[in-house]
């Protein structure tokens, strides 16, 4: 015993550590997966369901407007709803949405000039042509909005609009199927349930990184719009949709959303910054400043508190 007492001491310490571990409360141990599961079930999944449903409504409204069964204003409202619903997904754009290239198919910023030229040339004949042979800035909800604003020849415009909305619906349905009807549904994987589930850390990394990407794009586009005196309405629309999603992810009280994973001070301050940004006016300078504050806190303190790997890079870290 005397000869091996240092080994025995080390073994005792190890045993004590394991005993403490075994007796330790597991309430804390489940809070992080719970928070992610809650975020997916309460914010992410409903947002995707809403986007899929509004896209279907927009396609139906567009078709009804083209056949004369409903006024154009109904189609315009439905398309605007769909557009907003997909813009709101930017901060949670992962999984099937990435696979189906939702960003380039549905919500790429439109180029009305290119849409006009394509329309003058007869437009794409069907949804397949829109999906495979049409530029990103001449399809999706942005192009549909531009087509509705164009007062030219009704049949060609309707053919183009119907093809765009049908492609929107096909892409959106594919994403919805993958999220909710595949085996296993992606919603379960993202929430950490059942087979092929994502790790809690992977899901958190995606939520925060995609939110940072969306805010970064908003910040740069707002500056460009302000300084170059461009029309900022599209950027403002996207920014507001992004802010709403991030605010929902963060939660409204200390025991909701991702906020529960941080301390009270950070939770309160970041929620206040989000509220201030949501309330900011449409002036690009005012909104830009508010967005920069949100982005700065999200990119530093929140990233630190949630131990996020910014940029998903998997090389060895800073040690």
């Amino acid at each position: 015993v005397r000869r091996h007492r240092s080994f025995i001491a080390a073994a005792c310490v190890l045993t004590a550590m394991l005993a403490v571990t075994a007796c330790g409360s597991d309430a804390e141990a489940t809070s992080r997966p719970d928070a992610v599961r809650d975020a997916v079930d309460r914010v992410v999944a409903p947002a995707y369901r809403r986007a899929v449903a509004t896209t279907r409504r927009a396609a139906a409204a567009g078709a009804a407007a083209c056949t004369g069964d409903a006024p154009l204003t109904d189609a315009a409202a439905a398309i605007a709803d769909g557009y907003r619903a997909w813009l709101a997904l930017d901060p949670i754009d992962f999984g099937p949405a990435t696979t189906e290239r939702a960003k380039s198919q549905l919500v790429y910023p439109p180029d009305p000039e290119r849409v006009g030229k394509l329309l003058a040339a007869g437009g794409p004949e069907d949804a397949h042509a829109v999906n495979t042979r049409t530029a990103s800035d001449a399809r999706g909800f942005g192009a549909a909005t531009a087509l509705l604003a164009d007062g030219t020849d009704r049949p060609a415009r309707c053919r183009y609009l119907t093809a765009v909305l049908q492609n929107n619906r096909d892409v959106s349905d594919a994403i919805g199927d993958a999220w909710f009807r595949a085996e296993p549904p992606y919603v379960d994987r993202a929430a950490g349930r059942g087979p092929k589930q994502l790790s809690t850390q992977a899901a958190l990394d995606m939520l925060i990184n995609m939110s940072l990407n969306a805010l970064g794009a908003d910040a740069t586009q707002l500056v460009a719009a302000r300084l170059n005196e461009e029309d900022a309405s599209g950027t403002v629309l996207a920014t507001r949709a992004h802010l709403d999603t991030i605010a929902a992810l963060w939660g409204t009280s200390p025991d909701t959303g991702l906020r529960r994973l941080t301390n009270d001070d950070l939770g309160r301050r970041f929620a206040a910054e989000l509220r201030a940004a949501q309330r900011a006016g449409d002036d690009p300078k005012e909104l830009g400043q508010a967005i920069n504050a949100v982005r700065a806190t999200l990119g530093t303190e929140v990233v630190s508190a949630l131990d996020i790997v910014v940029g998903f890079s998997d090389n060895d870290g800073d040690s």
Binding site: V20, G24, S25, A29, G216, A219, V223, E301, V303, S319
Partner: protein
């Protein structure tokens, strides 16, 4: 003076001997041989990992911008596939070191290649790269290929007389001490770096790192216990500051080594992004054991015959030693020692707050001692038209560089120069580059780290923080 070597330590009879004589006393070369094998394996493994992960392209050749070390801006990656060739050569040299083939030359090749890879981009800095670099340098200078090596076998074959064909199995005891001291430096300064209010009083950054890991199997609940971060912070600091003493003392050595294994296993498990540092430390630390430990272990597990020089299981034959380590060698080692002791604490003299401005954090063994996270944007202004463009680091840099640059003033200055150079090349006019960067240290409240009113695109390089670096909060 009569000095007798045993398997464990030199026995000195007669009057006390000087340091140079004691350092020349022969001891069993077995532990240095195992050390060499471990070092070579770590080098080869690191390079294979680099290749397999696609990091040669992603980290070295693909980026158009590299964060450079002061004085080493001239170190650039080779074009095309040549950088892959360098990594492969270093891996092969590592294997050559492991098997002891032309040990010193192989170590020299590995050293040059490894240093090159390391110096290309400061954004890839890791403390274990520094450790491996220093150990390779010692492998060039010290006789690590004496035993259990192809060099030893070749030397035996070439011996003119049969009695001289037994490979030498001893090294000067100074060899072992230098290797131990080098490892000791890592632990010592890692411990000193932890003597910091955030670490000792607030338990940070371990506090929020633990909070994010309470779900990990086995030790997760332990991390969530109140006081766990503070206890772990103190334990970590005490471990680093005292482990070398416990490793040197024979009675505590086994337990100390067990603690080293446990400490690095837990560290590697909790923080996988620190790479092969824990493995390297565990593999190299056995050099603190008796120089004959591998021979004894081989004998204990019944595979003693595996060693080509192990027919004498008692260890090393008594040797009369009257040689002394050359004075020049002592002076060289002393200079290296002074540099290594001064470099990690240079911020005490050069100024600045190393945890905030990061100017003197490299080559300082500040292993996982703080966490810095930043976010930045660059406002590029055309001096003639006053047109503004905003650029985000993550939009123009790979993720690892954007993450590194965004929180470090000197790296931001270098990026501002890079952006300004690019615009000047295209337009013929050098723009102003104003940087807004927010940094959170150890999860603390964010603060601006550089003055956003200063044009960093023309700011000169500096070894210490300049006025445009904002003071710590």
């Amino acid at each position: 003076v009569t000095t007798t070597a045993t398997a464990d330590r030199p026995v000195v009879r007669g009057r006390p001997t000087g340091l140079r004589t004691r350092a020349a006393t022969p001891v069993d070369a077995a532990s240095t041989a195992v050390f060499r094998m471990a070092l070579g394996a770590v080098v080869a493994g690191a390079m294979v990992r680099y290749l397999a992960s696609g990091w040669v392209t992603a980290l070295l050749t693909a980026p158009a911008f590299h964060v450079t070390y002061p004085g080493f801006a001239w170190v650039r990656p080779l074009p095309g596939g040549w950088m892959h060739a360098v990594v492969i050569v270093v891996a092969l040299a590592g294997l050559a070191v492991a098997v002891g083939w032309r040990t010193r030359w192989s170590a020299a090749v590995a050293l040059v290649g490894f240093l090159w890879i390391e110096l290309v981009d400061a954004a890839t800095y890791l403390n274990h790269y520094e450790l491996v670099t220093l150990m390779l340098a010692w492998a060039v200078l010290l006789p690590l290929g004496t035993a259990w090596s192809l060099d030893a076998r070749r030397a035996g074959r070439r011996a003119p007389e049969p009695r001289m064909r037994t490979p030498p199995r001893t090294v000067p005891s100074g060899t072992v001490w230098v290797l131990r001291a080098q490892l000791g430096v890592v632990y010592l300064f890692a411990g000193i770096a932890k003597l910091d209010p955030d670490w000792l009083l607030h338990g940070e950054p371990l506090g929020h790192w633990f909070a994010a890991r309470t779900h990990v199997p086995m030790i997760g609940p332990l991390l969530g216990l109140p006081g766990a971060p503070l206890a772990a912070s103190w334990a970590g600091a005490l471990f680093d500051l005292t482990i070398v003493g416990f490793l040197l003392y024979r009675r505590t050595r086994p337990a100390a080594f067990a603690a080293v294994v446990a400490f690095h296993a837990v560290t590697g498990y909790l923080f996988p992004r620190i790479g092969i540092f824990p493995l390297a430390m565990v593999l190299l630390t056995p050099v603190f054991f008796s120089p004959a430990w591998p021979r004894r272990l081989a004998r204990a597990i019944g595979t003693g015959a595996a060693s080509p020089v192990d027919e004498d299981t008692r260890g090393v034959a008594p040797t009369t030693a009257s040689r002394r380590i050359p004075r020049a060698t002592v002076v060289l080692i002393a200079i290296v020692a002074v540099v290594q002791l001064a470099l990690p604490v240079r911020h005490w003299v050069l100024g600045g707050d190393v945890a905030w401005d990061d100017y003197h954090s490299r080559w300082s063994w500040r292993v996982l001692v703080n966490e810095r996270i930043g976010i930045a944007s660059l406002d590029i202004v055309d001096p003639r038209t006053d047109d503004h463009t905003t650029v985000l680091p993550e939009a123009i840099l790979p993720a690892h560089q954007a993450r590194y640059v965004s929180s470090r003033p000197e790296a931001l200055r270098q990026l501002a120069h890079h952006v300004a150079d690019g615009v000047e090349d295209r337009t013929g006019r050098r723009p102003h580059v104003f940087v807004t960067a927010w940094v959170s240290i150890n999860g603390s409240r964010r603060h601006e780290i550089v003055d956003h009113r200063v044009d960093l695109g023309v700011a000169p390089p500096a070894w210490t923080p300049r006025a445009w670096v904002r003071p710590p909060p």
